[in-house]
Symmetry: C2
Subunit: 149 residues, 2 copies
C-alpha cells in the first residue's frame, strides 16, 4: 500500500499489489489515477520505474513532476509535445532580442541627436555671451547720447 491505506494510483491502474516499497506510491497517491494514466500512456510504467530507480530518492519527485509535464504536453500536442513549447519559447526569445536591439539602437540614435543639439547649444551660448557684450556697448552708447543731449 506504499504506506497508505489503499493501493497507489499506479498499482490500482496496473491491477497489482501495492507493496510497502512500491517505487510509484510516494508520487502517485490513490486519488491521482489520471496523473499516472498519462505518464503510463506516454512513457510506460516499466520505463518510469527504471528512470526513477536510477535517481537518488531526493530527486525522484522532481523527475515525476517533469515526466507528468512532458506527458501532458504530448497529450495536448501529439506531434511536437514539449518540443513545440521549446520552439515557441525560442521564437519568443528571438523576438525579444530583436526588440532589445531596436531599443538600444533607439537609445544610441537619441544620444547622437543629443550630442548634435549640445554642440548647437554651445554655439548658441557663445552668441549669447557676445550679445551680453553687445548689451554693455548698447548701454554705453545710450549714455553717450544722453550726455550729448
Amino acid at each position: 500500500m506504499g504506506g497508505s491505506s489503499s493501493p497507489c494510483a499506479s498499482c490500482k491502474l496496473l491491477r497489482r499489489r501495492c507493496t510497502k516499497d512500491c517505487i510509484f506510491a510516494p508520487y502517485f497517491p490513490p486519488n491521482e489515477l489520471h496523473k499516472f494514466a498519462i505518464v503510463h500512456k506516454v512513457f510506460g510504467a516499466s520505463n518510469i520505474s527504471k528512470m526513477l530507480q536510477e535517481l537518488p530518492i531526493q530527486q525522484r519527485a522532481d523527475a515525476v513532476n517533469s515526466l507528468v509535464y512532458e506527458a501532458n504536453a504530448r497529450m495536448r500536442d501529439p506531434v511536437y509535445g514539449c518540443v513545440g513549447a521549446i520552439s515557441f519559447l525560442q521564437n519568443q526569445i528571438s523576438q525579444l532580442e530583436m526588440q532589445i536591439a531596436i531599443a538600444q539602437a533607439e537609445i544610441l540614435c537619441i544620444q547622437m541627436q543629443d550630442d548634435n543639439n549640445n554642440n548647437y547649444n554651445l554655439s548658441e551660448i557663445q552668441i549669447g555671451n557676445n550679445d551680453n557684450n553687445l548689451q554693455h556697448e548698447y548701454i554705453s552708447l545710450l549714455q553717450i547720447i544722453n550726455n550729448t543731449n
Copy 2:
C-alpha cells in the same frame, strides 16, 4: 525490410522481422540504431508505435524528431529532461523582458530630458531674438552718434 535491403534500426534492436509495412522503418533506417535505442529507452517501442499510429502519415516524421529530441534531453538531464530546457528558456525570457523594460525606461527618461532641454533652448532662442533686436537698435544708435558727430 520496410522497403530497404536490411531491417530497420527498430526491428534490428527488437530482433524481429521488419515487414514491408513496418511503422518504424521510414524514420529509423538500419544505420541509426542509437537513435531508436534512445527513444525506446525513454518511451518504449510499443508506446512510440501507438503514438505514430494515431497520427496521419505526413506528421509522423515530425513526431519522431520531437520524440528523439525529448529522449535525448531526458538522457542528458534525467531529472528534468525537456522541462529543464523550458524552465531555462522561461528564465531567459523574464531577463529579456526586464532588459526591454529598462531600455524603454531609459528611452522615456532621455525623451523627458530632451523635452526639458528643448524648453530651455526655446527661452535661449527667444533671448537670441531679443538680442537681434538689440543689434538693430545698436546699429541705429551708432548711426545717430555718427550723424550727431
